[in-house]
Amino acid sequence: MRLTVNGVEHDIASPPLTTLLDVLREELVVTSPKAGCQQGGCGACTVLVDGEPRRACLLPVAAVDGAEIVTAEGLGEPDELSTVQAAFHEHYAAQCGFCTAGFVMATAALAARSDGDVGREEVIEALSGHVCRCTGYVKIVEAATAAVRGDASPARASADTEPQGEDEVTLIPGSPA
């Protein structure tokens, strides 16, 4: 079996029913896809398979023999982030970081199939299969919206996506907002 991962071709030695996730992480040491729930429910292992977002934990590697796989490592470089990565960075859309690569790949897929004119609901729908255990969804949705609109900067996206009319929200009286 062969896979092209982030532009590099590899011969695969793992048994054919091994999950794509295990092949990526353990055989090829491509570790941005995370082994979270490993039953399709958390989204942390999401990668692009021939351009489509897929759960690497649910795919036997034999089912994707010959496919082109893109992970977060294949989107940009540390000193030259992709638009999606830059948006997540600019918007502080990562806390512990475990779910981040999955959200980034789902956002990259949305950006690729969209004309850039997306609303908040469409972004939320596209990310609905992904779980952030730090519950940092507000920042993630802002970052994803900015990225799909092609603008990584926080100012423009937050003006469009944050609730209007409230200058300051104090969750607990007396606490810093």
Binding site: P16, L17, T18, T19, Q38, R55, C57, G129
Partner: protein
């Protein structure tokens, strides 16, 4: 990591003929279509297949429409059914998230064993309401039967090829809201009117979807409990389901009436 799968013989069928031959009488064969149900079972060692038959490249995917009849290949993904004839389209859109829908298949949904946490097979009620026919094969030969019979006898020993149905005059569906993207259907009612007859089906109230003939014959939503005795599971109690089910039937029938 992969110790449980080393011993499995894996067949990646490249054609329908190869798939049928590899399936044989189905004995000892685990069919992997989208993989969304069986892969976690295999990965965590709960299922150790002697042989695994991968269907993704067997040419079993695709939707065809001719003379008012829709035929859907067993390996068609739920993403490709989101715009299907109602109520199938709505049921497909409600399954999980777009990534799972891009992998999960119609055949897998039809053959899904009930999960520990709750029922599966979110599309089954729609297929019952549409009076779908299931074409399947095995060593003994091909067979086409109503989806109701297929669900009652179970998928053991059968390789599903396709599902087909006539477009109904009108259809509607009502469901309990899903609490999050990955919850299986707690309860859903699908209704359709065709040829002067009414068909009413429920998914989420038992191991597989079933029809309610009492409602079909009387038009009385409350009589759904004559046919269906809801159960307790991790998603909802029998008490809750028995209170909500007649309400969903009434809503679906009202919606059908308005069409």
């Amino acid at each position: 990591m992969a110790g449980t799968v080393d011993a499995t013989e894996v067949i990646v069928a490249a054609s329908l003929e190869e798939a049928v031959e590899a399936f044989g009488d189905g004995d000892g064969v685990t069919v992997v279509a989208g993989g969304t149900i069986v892969m976690p079972e295999i990965r965590h060692g709960r299922l150790r297949p002697e042989r695994a038959l991968l269907l993704g490249r067997a040419g079993l995917a695709g939707v065809q429409r001719a003379d008012g009849r829709t035929t859907i290949g067993a390996a068609t993904t739920l993403a490709d059914l989101e715009d299907a004839v109602e109520p199938l389209g709505t049921c497909a859109r409600w399954v999980a998230d777009l990534e799972i829908r891009g992998q999960a298949t119609l055949g897998g949904n039809l053959c899904a064993p009930p999960g520990e946490e709750g029922p599966r097979g979110d599309l089954q009620a729609a297929l019952l309401a549409l009076d779908a026919q299931v074409r399947s094969t095995a060593a003994g030969g091909e067979r086409t039967e109503p989806v109701e019979d297929f669900l009652a006898s179970g998928p053991q020993g059968r390789l599903v090829l396709d599902v087909s149905f006539e477009e109904p005059e009108a259809a509607a569906t009502a469901s309990v809201r899903r609490p999050h993207a990955h919850a299986y259907t707690i309860l859903r009612v699908c209704v359709a009117r065709a040829g002067g007859g009414l068909r009413v089906a429920v998914v989420g109230a038992g191991p597989v979807a079933v029809r309610s003939r009492a409602v079909e014959q009387s038009g009385d939503a409350n009589r759904v409990l004559d046919d269906i005795t809801p159960h307790d599971d991790a998603l909802a109690s029998a008490w809750y389901r028995s209170k909500v089910l007649p309400v969903l039937v009434r809503r679906a029938l009202d919606d059908l009436e308005a069409r």
